[in-house]
Each structure stands twice: as C-alpha cells, then as structure tokens.
C-alpha cells in the first residue's frame, strides 16, 4: 500500500516530462542545493519541477528534480554527488528513460566552489578557475591548502 501511495504522490506532484533529465533519490531537503549546483537561477528558460520530501521506500523521504529539454553532462552529474551521493540520473527522450546513471564523487572539482580564504590567489583576477581536491575530510584548495569541511553549498560560486 505504502509503495503505491508514494508512486501516486509522485505522479501528482511532478508530471512526466517528454525530454530532459530527472534527478531522483536526492537526499530529502537537498533539491534546492542540487538546483544551485547546476547553476539554474530564477532567469532560467527551462521548465523545472522540484518535489521535496517525497515518501520513498528506501530513503524514508527523497527529493526529485525534473529538468525539461536539458541533458546533464557527466561533470554536472558528478557534482551532485558532493551533496547527495545516492542520487540517480535518468535521461528522458520522448517520455522514455534512455540512460540511467548513478553519480560518482569527482576527485577534482574546478570552477564550482569559491575558496573561503580571502588571501587565496584563486580569489584574484588571475586567469584560473578555483580548484579543489575532494578528500574524505572535505574539499582541499589546490592553491592555498584551505579545507572546506562543512556547509559546502554556501561556497558555491
């Protein structure tokens, strides 16, 4: 009973899309951060649907993001892993799931996060993108060795 309830809720909350990307199994409450990581702002032209805290069999509750007419690249997908390692990505073409992929935590992330150290050379007008190594303890700045251990999303550029 529970399962069909969940499916029904999901159906009501977010309609199927014809073409685009469905990001499923996002940790409950992280959907807005996922949208932020993908660089989607209020001025985006793509149709975007977000469902948060949807009951889920495996996760208790989860978030879902559906993005119309845009297929995410591998790099974009992997960034999501930083905040939601269980997320799954479905590429939809003509209402059908064409590709299903899990996210993989990247080893290096470039140009996504701003180094919190005001004295860091990456926060100047040098022709470089910020660069962080993803370590178990957090994100390590390639330039100044600063480590971001928490509240990752607040440092997203």
């Amino acid at each position: 009973m529970k399962n069909s309830d969940a499916a029904e809720n999901e159906g009501l909350l977010v309609r199927r899309i014809k073409n685009g990307t469905v990001i499923d199994h996002i940790d409950g409450g992280e959907a807005l951060n996922v949208v932020k990581i993908l660089g989607i702002t209020g001025t985006t032209h793509e149709a975007l649907s977000i469902a948060t805290n949807v009951p889920s069999r495996n996760m208790g509750c989860k978030d879902i993001v559906k993005l119309t007419n845009r297929e995410l690249s591998k790099e974009e997908v992997d960034r999501i892993a930083l905040i939601s390692p269980r997320a799954t990505i479905n590429i939809i073409r003509n209402y059908k799931v064409c590709e299903k992929k899990g996210v993989e935590i990247p080893k290096i992330i470039e140009g996504l996060v701003k180094c919190p150290n005001p004295g860091c050379i990456s926060n100047t007008n040098e022709p470089i993108r910020s660069k962080f190594e993803v370590l178990p303890k957090g994100l390590h700045c390639h330039y100044c060795d600063w480590v971001i251990t928490r509240d990752l999303t607040s440092h997203i550029i």
Partner: protein, 246 residues
C-alpha cells in the same frame, strides 16, 4: 635577498622584478602573465608573494622551475630547508621536541617547519597569543600525520622540555593598539633569565629580522644559533637553485 647572494656565488646573475605589488599588480598585469614573461628571461624563478598559493599558480604558468620563497600566510619551504639544516648541525632531528613561539597563524615559516617536522616524529610545543594560534586545518593535518602537538600558555613551562626553540616575529599590526601589542610582546620575550634550566644542547632559532622577541644578551649564550641559521641560508639556497636548474 639571500637567493640573489646564492645565485651570485654559483656564478650566475639574477634579475629582480621587485615588489610584486609595486610592479605588476599596480600595472594591472596578472601574476600568470608576469611569470610567463619572466620565464623567457631566466632559468629559474624565485617568488615571494602576498597571496597564498601564488607559487603554485606561478608554477602552472612558468616554463622554468619555480621556488616558493614565501606565499602570504601560506608556506615558506626554502626557509624550512635551512632551518632543518641548522638543527641537523646540532642534533639528529628524529623525535626531538620543538617549540614554536609567536605568530603561528600568519607565520609561514612556522607552518612549513611544522609540516616538515611531522616527517621526523618530532613533538611540537606551541605558544602563541590568542587569535594567532596555528591554523585549525594545519593542526588537524599534522595530527592526522601522527604528530604530537602540545599547546602551552606560559613560556616558562616550555623552556625546560625542548631541544629547539623556534621564535617568530609577532607583528604589531595584528593588535588593535600598541598597549596590547607590548603586553603580549613582553610576555614572549626570550631573556637569559628565562633560559635558566634549559637543556644544555638547546638551540634557539629565529627566521630574522627580529624586533624585541629575543633579548640581545641572549646572542652571547651558546644557545643562540639564529645568525648561523641566517648564514646557512646561502649554501642551502645555492643547493636548491642547483637542484632545480640541473
């Protein structure tokens, strides 16, 4: 600059780009551009820069070897090599007790020395004014490497237990007013009286220039090694330049 002296003694010449702020940044040139241009003029680049990570960035754009001679409050690895050499002249480095005293937050010589000592199973004793402690991320990294770090709040409790006393400058700008600076500075001053009861083989190092951190009367004591340390800078830097240019 001691790198210029080292280069001259190797029979080479050096070009001074001068203060980066005065030169490139004022003209609006990026460090990346400066380094690409200078790569065409020289066989190696020695860089000291006010921003952390500047040397790493320079190395990405240079086509010749880059030596980091200090990046902001980051690292000062060339100083560390001569510090280690000076310690090595007096004792084996393994498992020694080293005290780092002064501004450990912005003191890049202390950061680099602490990192290097973590390779020798040395125990670190730290003493710094409030707010100028070792950066948390660095301390965590050193602990991860298995280093034993003991924080102290009184200089007297350190003196008897260490083999090396590494004193760094406390900059006046770090304090809101001169009174609080002088108050702290006087509590950290190394005097002959303070050194009573020190281990006989204790050595005192300081990356120089010093201001009031070490009483000039200490210069006469066998513990004082900072001028020797400074002299060691030339051969050690000669070795570094040779190493990168060969």
């Amino acid at each position: 600059m001691s790198f210029e002296s080292a280069m001259a003694r190797l029979g080479g010449t050096s070009l001074s780009v001068g203060s980066i702020e005065a030169c490139s940044i004022a003209k609006g040139e990026t460090l990346a551009d400066t380094v690409r241009v200078v790569s065409g003029y020289a066989d190696a680049i020695v860089i000291r820069h006010p921003k952390e990570g500047a040397a790493r960035l320079a190395a990405e754009f240079a086509t010749v070897p880059v030596i980091n001679a200090g990046d902001g409050a980051g690292q000062h690895p060339s100083q560390t090599l001569l510090d280690l050499y000076t310690i090595r002249q007096s004792m084996a480095i393994d498992k020694i007790d080293v005290a780092l005293i002064g501004d450990l937050r912005y003191g890049r010589t202390a950061h680099s020395l602490a990192s290097a000592l973590s390779l020798y199973n040395a125990r670190l004793h730290t003493l710094s004014p409030k707010g100028l402690e070792l950066p948390v991320t660095l301390a965590a990294e050193l602990c991860d490497k298995g280093m034993d770090i003991v924080e102290h709040d009184n200089i007297n409790e350190i003196i008897r237990d260490v083999d090396v006393l590494y004193v760094t400058r406390i900059q006046r700008e770090r304090f809101p007013d001169s009174a609080s600076y002088f108050n702290v500075a006087s509590n950290y001053r190394i005097t002959p009286e303070l050194l009573c009861g020190a281990r006989s083989h204790l050595i005192i190092l300081h990356p120089l220039p010093r201001i009031d951190e070490i009483d000039p009367r200490v210069d006469e004591l066998p513990y004082a090694r900072y001028f020797e340390q400074s002299r060691n800078g030339v051969p050690v830097r000669m070795a570094m330049l040779m190493e990168v240019m060969q």
